[in-house]
Amino acid sequence: MRHVAQRPAIKHHKPLTEPVLLILMSLAAQPRHGYALIKDIEVLSRRRVRLSTGTLYGALRRLLDEGWIERFEQEDTSRDKQAYRLTSEGRRQLELELDRFRELSRAGFARLRLDEA
C-alpha cells in the first residue's frame, strides 16, 4: 500500500484579494443581494472600502465560477435582485484564509515581543 502524506490544506490555499475576502465574510453571516453586499462591506471595513458595481460583480462572477457562492431566488425579490449565499466550499475557503491571517498575526506579534524583550 502506498503511503500518502497528508499536507495541511493551507499549503494549497492562495491568498484572497480584499474584495473577495470581504464578500465571503459578508455572506458568511447571511445571504445578501448585490446592493446589500456593498452596504455591509462598507460597515465591515469601517467605511474604508466601498466596492463599485464593476468590482463587486467581477468578484461575484469569479466566485460563482469557482463554486464558492451560489445564486438563489428569494421570494420577495425580483429577477434583478438575486441573492447570493456561501457554498460549503466557499465557507471552507474563508476559514482557510482566516486561519492564514491568524497564523500571520501570531508570527507578527511574536516578532514584536522578541524585539521588545
Binding site: 446592493y35 463599485s52 458595481t53 451560489e70
Partner: protein, 146 residues
C-alpha cells in the same frame, strides 16, 4: 446617467451581461439614488468611480474571456447547447456540475480522498439538478453529459 451605465454594460462579454447585467444596472441605480441626496460633489465622485470601475472591469472580463474562456465553458463546451440559447437556470446548473467535476478531478489528482467523496456526492446532486432543469424547460439531452 442610468442610460450611460446601460450602454457601458455592452463592453462586457455577452455571457456576463446576460447573467449579471440587469442586477448590475439595478445596483448602480440604487447607489446613484442614494448619492444624489448627498450633494453634487458626492454624486459626481460616485459616478466617476462607478463608470471608471465599470470600464476597467469590462476590460478585465474581456481579457479573461479571450484568454481563458472560463474553464466552466470549456468543461461544457461541445457537449451541451450554446449557453446563449439556454435559460439562466440551466446555464447555472451546467456551471455547477462543471465546477463539481473540476473539484472532483482536483481532489483525486491530489489524493484528497475525503474531499473527493464529498465532491462526488455534490456532483451527483448537481447532475440531478441539471436533469430537473432540462426537464422543466423541456430541453432534450441528445448527447451524454460530461
Amino acid at each position: 446617467m442610468d442610460a450611460v451605465f446601460r450602454v457601458l454594460l455592452y463592453l462586457y462579454p455577452q455571457r456576463h451581461r446576460e447573467l449579471l447585467g440587469a442586477e448590475m444596472q439595478a445596483v448602480f441605480e440604487q447607489g446613484a439614488q442614494e448619492h444624489r441626496l448627498l450633494g453634487p460633489s458626492q454624486y459626481l465622485r460616485f459616478v466617476l468611480l462607478e463608470l471608471g470601475g465599470l470600464v476597467l472591469h469590462a476590460a478585465i472580463a474581456q481579457f479573461a474571456n479571450a484568454t481563458h474562456r472560463g474553464y466552466l465553458e470549456n468543461q461544457v463546451h461541445g457537449t451541451l447547447a450554446p449557453p446563449q440559447d439556454l435559460p439562466d437556470e440551466v446555464i447555472e446548473a451546467q456551471n455547477r456540475l462543471a465546477v463539481n467535476i473540476n473539484q472532483l478531478s482536483f481532489a483525486i489528482s491530489h489524493h484528497q480522498f475525503v474531499q473527493a467523496r464529498f465532491y462526488k456526492n455534490e456532483e451527483r446532486k448537481a447532475r440531478e439538478n441539471l436533469r430537473q432543469m432540462r426537464e422543466k424547460y423541456g430541453i432534450g439531452d441528445p448527447q451524454p453529459l460530461p
